[in-house]
Symmetry: C2
Subunit: 163 residues, 2 copies
Amino acid sequence: MTRGARRSTRSFRQSEDLPVFELGRFLPYLINRAGARLAVAFSKEIARYGIELQEWRVLAALQAQGPCRLGDLAALTSIEMSTLSRLVGRMTRARLVERARENGDRRALQVGLAAPGRQVVAAIVPLAHEYERLALSGFTPGEAEALREMLSRVYRNLGGLPP
Amino acid sequence: MTRGARRSTRSFRQSEDLPVFELGRFLPYLINRAGARLAVAFSKEIARYGIELQEWRVLAALQAQGPCRLGDLAALTSIEMSTLSRLVGRMTRARLVERARENGDRRALQVGLAAPGRQVVAAIVPLAHEYERLALSGFTPGEAEALREMLSRVYRNLGGLPP
DNA sequence: GCTAATTACTTGCATTTGCAAATAATCCGC
DNA sequence: GCGGATTATTTGCAAATGCAAGTAATTAGC
């Protein structure tokens, strides 16, 4: 790594042997970039309902899955447990969700949509679909489906690392 | 929305008219989920170089694009400007990057890799590629390329909203 | 060439985050 | 059924974040 590595003076672009990293073809970059745009735009969109993005994620997950444990909700939303714990606390105070200790296992928490939360989801879901349509402008249904499927595969491929 | 909406007692799953939101087919969800897994796993991987994810994003962008302005770097990394300003400050103190006011327009900042930063990128790039390979396990080259291309399209589709 | 508007970044401040440690309830093997 | 793991969630704390407001340099209009 040190052999003949005198810094070239000729060009502006870095060089130092290493073939330039191809950011524009790097999958994590492409995913992050698309996700960030989606997130920023959609956050602003739903701000008028007084809902922030993480809250929407929780609401959407609960609408889709029904009531579930905090841990399940964390897995479902990709929100870290301690963050989620506090988030659900706030959302409970805002009457968006309801919390109750589970019968049977009283360590566990059962989180479900509260009535006002249901109303908010009902209002936002159409917007969400509109955004998805926008994101997929120019895609054939087959392409859109392929994209969904491949993203799921990527997700699964990264699943079994923790041991 | 209030008509006959007595809360059903029979089932556990929510209902309340609204067709259940299909989270598993919702593109923003799929993107966020894959991105979050990638981010968490890769963060841990590079922690042993004392580098955090956002720092890696900056380093990778600079390696790929060469020196650029803070604003460009913000666009390139999807990191918010004020966050990036402070991040680049820390990275400068850590000798990962170098900062200089631009000649010509002295408001602007020119940010480039410093020598130790280059070493760190050189060490991490192979890991990054390994992660990408892992994420794309079971993909044909054609599929991988299609995925990249579709993610770029999604990104572009969401570009022209701000007016 | 002077002033107003714009651009490029920085900073103050209130909040949110994430890790690690704490708490609380269950489970496991005798 | 008792004590030590284990699991589910919460909380303390330091650090990171994002918005809005501030600063500094440049450009535009006259």
